[in-house]
Symmetry: D3
Subunit: 328 residues, 6 copies
Amino acid sequence: MITLEDEDKSQNSKLFSRLVLIGGNSNLELSKKISNELDIPLADSIISKFSDGEIRVKILENVRGKEVFIIQSTCPPVNDNLMELLILIDAVRRASASSITAVIPYFGYAKQEKKVSGREPITAKLIANLLTVAGASRVVTVDLHAPAIQGFFDIPVDNLYAYNFLVNAFKDYIGRVDKNNFVILAPDAGSVIRARMYSEKMELPIAVMFKRRPDIEEVESMEVVGEIENKNIVIVDDMVSTAKTLVSAANKLKSMGANKIYALAVHPVFSSNAIQLIDDSPIEKVFVTDTIPLRNKNEKIVVVSIASLISEVIRRIYLRKSISELFD
Amino acid sequence: MITLEDEDKSQNSKLFSRLVLIGGNSNLELSKKISNELDIPLADSIISKFSDGEIRVKILENVRGKEVFIIQSTCPPVNDNLMELLILIDAVRRASASSITAVIPYFGYAKQEKKVSGREPITAKLIANLLTVAGASRVVTVDLHAPAIQGFFDIPVDNLYAYNFLVNAFKDYIGRVDKNNFVILAPDAGSVIRARMYSEKMELPIAVMFKRRPDIEEVESMEVVGEIENKNIVIVDDMVSTAKTLVSAANKLKSMGANKIYALAVHPVFSSNAIQLIDDSPIEKVFVTDTIPLRNKNEKIVVVSIASLISEVIRRIYLRKSISELFD
Amino acid sequence: MITLEDEDKSQNSKLFSRLVLIGGNSNLELSKKISNELDIPLADSIISKFSDGEIRVKILENVRGKEVFIIQSTCPPVNDNLMELLILIDAVRRASASSITAVIPYFGYAKQEKKVSGREPITAKLIANLLTVAGASRVVTVDLHAPAIQGFFDIPVDNLYAYNFLVNAFKDYIGRVDKNNFVILAPDAGSVIRARMYSEKMELPIAVMFKRRPDIEEVESMEVVGEIENKNIVIVDDMVSTAKTLVSAANKLKSMGANKIYALAVHPVFSSNAIQLIDDSPIEKVFVTDTIPLRNKNEKIVVVSIASLISEVIRRIYLRKSISELFD
Amino acid sequence: MITLEDEDKSQNSKLFSRLVLIGGNSNLELSKKISNELDIPLADSIISKFSDGEIRVKILENVRGKEVFIIQSTCPPVNDNLMELLILIDAVRRASASSITAVIPYFGYAKQEKKVSGREPITAKLIANLLTVAGASRVVTVDLHAPAIQGFFDIPVDNLYAYNFLVNAFKDYIGRVDKNNFVILAPDAGSVIRARMYSEKMELPIAVMFKRRPDIEEVESMEVVGEIENKNIVIVDDMVSTAKTLVSAANKLKSMGANKIYALAVHPVFSSNAIQLIDDSPIEKVFVTDTIPLRNKNEKIVVVSIASLISEVIRRIYLRKSISELFD
Amino acid sequence: MITLEDEDKSQNSKLFSRLVLIGGNSNLELSKKISNELDIPLADSIISKFSDGEIRVKILENVRGKEVFIIQSTCPPVNDNLMELLILIDAVRRASASSITAVIPYFGYAKQEKKVSGREPITAKLIANLLTVAGASRVVTVDLHAPAIQGFFDIPVDNLYAYNFLVNAFKDYIGRVDKNNFVILAPDAGSVIRARMYSEKMELPIAVMFKRRPDIEEVESMEVVGEIENKNIVIVDDMVSTAKTLVSAANKLKSMGANKIYALAVHPVFSSNAIQLIDDSPIEKVFVTDTIPLRNKNEKIVVVSIASLISEVIRRIYLRKSISELFD
Amino acid sequence: MITLEDEDKSQNSKLFSRLVLIGGNSNLELSKKISNELDIPLADSIISKFSDGEIRVKILENVRGKEVFIIQSTCPPVNDNLMELLILIDAVRRASASSITAVIPYFGYAKQEKKVSGREPITAKLIANLLTVAGASRVVTVDLHAPAIQGFFDIPVDNLYAYNFLVNAFKDYIGRVDKNNFVILAPDAGSVIRARMYSEKMELPIAVMFKRRPDIEEVESMEVVGEIENKNIVIVDDMVSTAKTLVSAANKLKSMGANKIYALAVHPVFSSNAIQLIDDSPIEKVFVTDTIPLRNKNEKIVVVSIASLISEVIRRIYLRKSISELFD
């Protein structure tokens, strides 16, 4: 807990001598970008599997008294990535690290943050407890599905917002975003709060789509409130999983006379044949970040890196500087 | 943990011999109704204050091995009511109760369930931890402001839904609710999910009001998406505090040509001059429950009791029966 | 955990750059005095209430990696002050402070430190658990009603003794305290240990007053062992609440031929009409400290500030110096 | 947690089929008396030591789902007796007992319940934590040195009072205790509260002895307030350890003209040559209980058994009946 | 915690009305056998995966106040099976089960029960902590790789021994096992304790094989102590993973003149091409249990079911009967 | 957590200004050697017993913010030594030490690390829990009886290996250890893993002795696999307690034609008349370390000090250097 007022870059290696970066297997690409931004190498380590699928971990550098940051998204295969993270934390704790920050750019299981009906788990809380009992002393994450998940932890949690990155990339791409031509769309009731944030940031009007429960003829219908006709629509969400909601929203919007359709979403889960669905849809472009690595490149998918955000946050945590300043 | 298959009412006192009901000072009216419904008296106890304002508690009946239910809303004065609850739990735990259920019809501090910016508390989580460390073994509550608060606990939480009671009382009052004349209004982004529940239940269309951040001229503006003109509007929310949001929404709706305006809200916090504001507003009626006692009666306020719901839930917990059945 | 051998005063601001002082609303006067003594400003923060009485907290300065001292007496209104303290701790913990010391000059609920009969709480222990679960890493307090309360915590507790301050102020006022003229009086069985400490310190004889349980005629009688007649009596206690015990002791002593009567008590709770009672009593002067702010000034009440004691203790904790040295 | 309204003695073995009694080695005599009173045998078990002094435990009866009461005083050799108790609890917990009550008639280390100066332990709290972490679910003890020790636990603690037993035995012995002839003496400041209890119970006046710190000539002096001359003195304390305080008090009292001198003390620790000292002193009789076994019989020592008290408390805990009733 | 002395089979359904069996996906075959043995159906439930690989759980029967047994081996895919188990526990705990027993026939990660060198995890302990924090109240498992893993838990653990089943099946197969013809072989230092158990049970001599660290020419050599020539060898181990150790041991034994070679191992992990290796080896038969389901049948593999053992243990836990009796 | 790149010996006292060494009474000789090696005095403190056998502790130097290492073997009298250690930890924790490392050269109760049959404790785990709840932040120990005991802790544990010291001392004594003449013997199944370590290190063949359960005539027999005749035998074990196993092994080996017999064992518990037994046996020399002090010198016992190992480990922990490097 040295006081580090002075940050002369030439003293970088000395200044950061107590910082250790470990990259799990879930998103090594992002870990390497963060490592480059910070000019601190990823710690040498064995993070693999035994023949029976059990995870094998061994850190090859001294971490005694160090401040360790472990970068691991709990994206698919979520259980493997989560266990790898927990085992890494265990290894580092037993090796006497002075603090352990779990940097989880994509926090899986976040949609299971409440009981919708009886006898369901609250898996997101379970995960919070697992991370804490394993020995994490702090969590850094990006755009939690529900902000209340922060409260699932009693250790400090920094929930970073990536929407500025998406908004800027979108504006760069479009050129000029005019409030007469563009509308932000919340694709369901759960994304209205997020949509309002984008609407404030981009100074655009807002529309909301509601899914109606299937009626007797088993047709799920969608209701839209707000102006759509002849507008360019920007669908915003925190993540795209199967892309079914997104694509059926786009189809509905087209049928209502929408002009061009775009989507902004932080986390590109893209499960099943999501990318194929998007490719075949009327959507022009989907802007996402690199919290999850993309298995396949696709022309419609624009990836915006948030490595600079995460590395700046790691730097500030290590130097005991404010993180909220970053978002003022 | 006796098996209680047989529930012959004539055996009530024997069957429920291990159930103890304690009513805190926050909402004795509701506690008494629950006690009547269950036909089980409130336990004799001293729950008062010493001259220096410190809470004084003494339970005057044996609770050893009993299943104790403590009924206490953490409504204003919230800190006094909360501490009274915690101290009651402590007294009962040290007296060897076999289980302690905190029945908290109105769960205060629930709006502080996430950090909006840096260096804020997550007070709702703090409260969850305080209840747990004091010794609560289960929580029963009604319409949590954010359902994720359930996950703030590792003990079982039953979050009951009261909206059926409000919907039925409203329908009884109106007679016929027609989807051509009535619209559900979510008064801000945060209440859209709740509004959608009402909209599904009542088979009515939905509209959403957004507050815009004040522009340079410091005028806070409101934007509404959805049809308002010539409609009867039902504003739905989980609670009414100062009633400012509610009343300015009503005024805006009137200015847009709305017909009659009603409000449904579970928790009547009614802080400051809320009731006066409602009285002076174009709102016809506000339907609320009795999770919080009303200080003053008012013609516009219709109180719907949920004592039967809570007493049925207590009965089922004690008899180890399913609660989710109640909501199927 | 920097080594701070060198304490050149001119380097004060650098030396103490990691120390953050926060003053709660219970005793801002004392917090400001401590801040002055240390030459460290109170941290900028919002500590207020929402319209519904819920406490609102936001710290406006970076506390990441800082050693935070929160000064808050849990004097009346005790529940508000206690919750404010807990919520401050929660906010600071989630903002990644490196340590959080709760400085509680008056520790409320301390008289509820044991069960006198069945089914009572041990509220002082509950408070200890609440502080710990909220995230306090250390407690500093003054003259705990029962020293065993230290053991209610597993975190370090520094229980400071203020009696030197009272004794010195009393001696300054009286001029010469002669063991032939002055007697220390313990006003009940529970204050005998404390009285003995004063008696040793001031080299004065001791007398003890016992309250007898009311007899059949419901007259509470008082029994005194030790010499009273023609003596000046110094009644010593840890706190004055309603002042009833103090004033009826004074009356009894007068009826036994006592000369002048003084009282020394650390904590001026002064609930109900305590000050009026004292004003109307035969007591000459009551010496108290400023662990609790006085609502009304009164000629008979002499307030001795302990700000210098608390600020020195904060300084020593921060500099990792011994506190017991202070009391040798 | 069966309801056990019916307590027909003839059904004793069935009624108590889930109760298991285990007697540690510290006070087998008392354990056997309790076992006799309850008509329940001590569970068959191996509780011994290996050749290297490590404690060896094996319970030879099924305890799965049973309510286990382990009777063990933590009298000298205190560390052996304490570890034996902790290891017994561990064995029983791992064997799936449904509850474990530590019955600790004499709770050792209770005098170390606060820090008198810096860098001391609070061993009584440590012991409370050790018992809890080992798996005790409840504690029953007798006349804790400081009642606040109850608050060191978060599990229920029943602190029983044995003074009625001593008072009755003393009255039986003396015949008539007259308030003109008898005085209760608190032998130091710390025993005044206890002395007041005896004084109320026996309707006798009270006197207090204070030890003065040695002056320059290193003579420890004693000061007594209250009438002694020509009185029979009853010195009361919670325990007798070396008996030095007791015997020097007796000598001082004799020098002040006291008539006969008796002592009542719950716990006969009798360390070093305590019994010899008493034998050689002017004390007539010392009344003690059997919370600790006496190594040597002595004419001056009168042992009053509290087995009936403890067995009744065990019975009530098992039957979920009130214990406070016992002390009304 | 009803007393259930009477176990009339005809009352089975009433007697076991509070027992709920849940079978995870890892070993449904075994779960069904256990369910059959107990004559209690597996609880209706949804245990599957969402499209993004996150586990989805919903129990469709009331578990409030029930004693729930969840049967799940943490065999490959170990992380999926483990997370499924943890999430099931979470769901059941939040649904107010009275106790939750994790029945884990094969306990994965058990080989990572100590640090062999620095900065390694102790994953088996991590797993123990994860199970406990999720809410398990008891663990039942079979032939833990290291018995000390029991001590990784503070909740009760029943570690069952399956070797009797293997020994009996082997004897049935061979007919007569003569100590002049048969030798037990421990295939490495770590399996000697286990080998001794088999050797005692079967009254056969023992031999030990040691792997030598590769010398300069990188040839790993094996050393055998004990008689091999012309003997039938029974290699015993707790599990077979890749089968490499087993097969190279068999080859070595053959080269030393061994007669027929058999293997007994509780857990058939059979990772990689283990079964192929065995098929191509000189081993006659490998006897295993069904703690892990076999993907492919093979003539050389003899599977012995332990369903009767586990179901008897569940029955005894539920009826509060001794389990150690089973192994006397 | 200062960065300490530079370790100029001349700056020793400044560099180590935050390190405090405390030596318990169990092995003061070793503590003093460690203190000498580190050139840091043992902290001034009172560690004794009161007349009733209760341990008395007071640290006489400031430990606020210091890194405290407490050296204490839990050798016989194990319960006294263990409690002394726990109480020391409590005192240091309450005095605000920044970290507390329990250095336990001999970790008693380690043989009770698993349940061999029902209703036994796992005392080694209990001890781990006691140390943790008392406040230890790290444990350093030597040659744990079972390495899995590391996993009984969630705090970091450094388990040091002393066998190099024994091997070197043995080689120095013998001169030349030839693999044709010398054999390592594991005296029972439980010591085979350890024997293999020695065998690898010393490049010697291995033999194993098995105890057979007594047959009907109650004769315990011993079986040996491996070559003994005309060999010098080196029996290796982690500890010698009663020496019965060791001596009867030696007698058996002699009867089988063994040449000279030696023993290497880390921990010299030497309970009962162990030393006498060794003296009367055919064993030439027993090499042990000083983890436990020897009560009596004996010509056959060679003590090898590991003070240099422990002091180097303390130095590295304090300087945040790797410990595993020491064993590469």
